[in-house]
Amino acid sequence: MRGGVGRAGFTPGEVVRQAVLVLLGLLALFPLYFTTVNSFKDRVQYAESLLNVPTRLHPENYALAWAQIQGPLVNSVVITVTSVLATLLLASLSAYAFALMDFPGRHLLFAVTFALLLVPDFLTLIPLYVQIRNLTLPSNYLAIILPTVAVGQPFAILVLRAAFEAIPRDMLEAARLDGAGHLALLRRIVLPVSLPVLISVAIIRLVPVWNEYLLPSLVLDEAHRTLPVALVNFQGGGAATAVTPNYGALMASYVLSAVPLLVLFAFLMRYYIQGVTSGGVKG
């Protein structure tokens, strides 16, 4: 393995490299620091200085922020979790068919799913908005879940198909001889064996769904509003009414909105890294 010469490397070059990296890393994390320290300040402290850790903390900002974003936070969690799970479920079925079954039209149907990557989001946004406005859905959540699942299909199917194709055929055929149907094979062998890939796909898809702003801002009603939409509204509301926003509470709401991803990445970071690096480009 390259670079496995041991940890003895403290040459000048190494020290400089590490110093530059630490500096860049801290700069990249600066917004987290900025929002966190300022989330504990009152208006006066905020006006005085933006960079210090306040001497007197104001945790009540978090109570204020929580009261404001509690609803949107729950909505975001519901929508993101449902979308990602549904994306995986439907993509697994399709990827199974594409990877392991032989049927007329296989190549055509795969091309149809895959060509979706060429349809840009801005092209469909407005018609989708009009379409959903005229559609009577059983729940407003579905107005964002269904299109999001559709958009996630090509990427998920592509990665899962490759993973399913790599499963040793003997394993599947043995189970098949024991009389297992396709659904049973999928549930008992294919999915369990592919668990790490499923987690990778889930977490890579989850980030953009959690951050999605445009379509939710157009189609979700007040009660189903997601976090990004709510955050923009607070900020905008402050400016429009010419009242200086309560920055402490605003920053607290920013910190709270980062917590779910922080928790998730604390456990699943390596699946994200693996997913991006192994699924990477070849020639």
Partner: protein, 307 residues
């Protein structure tokens, strides 16, 4: 080995299409939910967008066909002209940002001694992904305010004369939005380049060392040429992404002051949602889509021609 029904296998005996259709009905059942969703929530709206570009449409009433009128209007519209210029600047600078910083960091991390150290730093540069992209936008919007961090820092280092209403000045607003998000180390691009470096065979580096290619020379002579597929992919994604991008001007400046931060995609959005001119909006979207398709094909051709 016996060919099992419903399984793909190279040795399958030729059967009639009808038999295969009947045998494999579960395959179609498996694909049905995906195809329905993709058809209704992706292809159908795309079809609507393309066909409505040639009509006068308010999003509610049936559209009336107007031929190329919307396109003529778009081409003649001076606002579209400025928006296109803004987009051009954004695409060039945005693509450079997407390439340069992730590349520098990937090189630095890759040349650290020891797997564990590399792993630690790799993780460090992925952590910022937990910051929701809108939070990053809004926080930077605060940095740019008159009483914001940027002006405070300038004052603190004695450059108070440079203090600025960054996003309200037509000369700085566009660049303020483009250069938002320092130090521009996108986790995805960084990981892609890092993985690319890891995929370079050990003996290539050894040979370079013997030839005396070290440090910057090695980066230029060995790493960059061998990272071409990754750099090409990132550049293509950045170009296409920046052509379509309009969230920061939408949220932070509404395209202003004047039209200083208006880009065609934002114009498309505002024309529909604010002015109710859905037909014209779809014509702008159509033109942008053509641009995206052309750019995609072009980059395909370039990367293929170089192989």
């Amino acid at each position: 080995m016996t060919a099992l029904p419903g399984f793909r296998s190279g040795s399958a005996s030729p059967r009639s299409v009808l038999t295969r259709l009947r045998r494999n009905w579960p395959a179609y059942l498996f694909l049905l939910p995906t195809l329905l969703l993709v058809g209704y929530f992706a292809y159908y709206p795309a079809y609507i967008a393309v066909t409505r570009a040639f009509t006068d449409w308010d999003g509610l009433n049936p559209p009336t066909f107007t031929g190329l009128e919307n396109f003529q209007r778009a081409v003649a519209d001076p606002v579209m002209g400025q928006a296109t210029t803004n987009m051009g600047i954004w695409v060039v600078l945005g693509t450079l940002l997407a390439l340069v910083m992730p590349l520098i960091v990937a090189e630095l991390v890759f040349h650290l001694r020891g797997q564990r150290r590399q792993y630690a730093y790799r993780t460090l540069f992925v952590i910022p992904i937990v910051i929701p992209s809108l939070v990053l936008l809004l926080v930077w919007g605060d940095f740019y305010r008159s009483d914001g961090l940027l002006n405070q820092l300038l004052g603190a280092v004695g450059l108070g004369g440079l203090r600025h209403e960054w996003l309200s000045d037509p000369h700085t607003a566009l660049y303020g939005l483009i250069f938002l998000g320092f130090p521009y180390i996108d986790a995805f691009n960084f990981l892609l380049l890092y993985a690319g470096l890891q995929a370079i065979p050990e003996d290539v580096f050894d040979a370079a060392k013997i030839d005396g290619a070290t440090g910057l020379r090695r980066v230029l002579r060995i790493d960059l040429p061998l990272l071409r597929p990754q750099l090409g992919l990132i550049a293509m994604l950045a170009i296409i992404g920046n052509v379509q991008y309009y969230i920061s001007p939408l949220v932070l400046t509404s395209g202003g002051p004047g039209y200083a931060t208006t880009v065609p995609a934002l114009l498309m959005y505002q024309t529909a949602t604010r002015d109710g001119e859905y037909g014209y909006a779809m014509a702008i979207a159509f033109l942008l889509m053509i641009l995206v398709v052309v750019l995609t094909l072009l980059s395909r051709l370039i990367s293929r021609g170089n192989r």
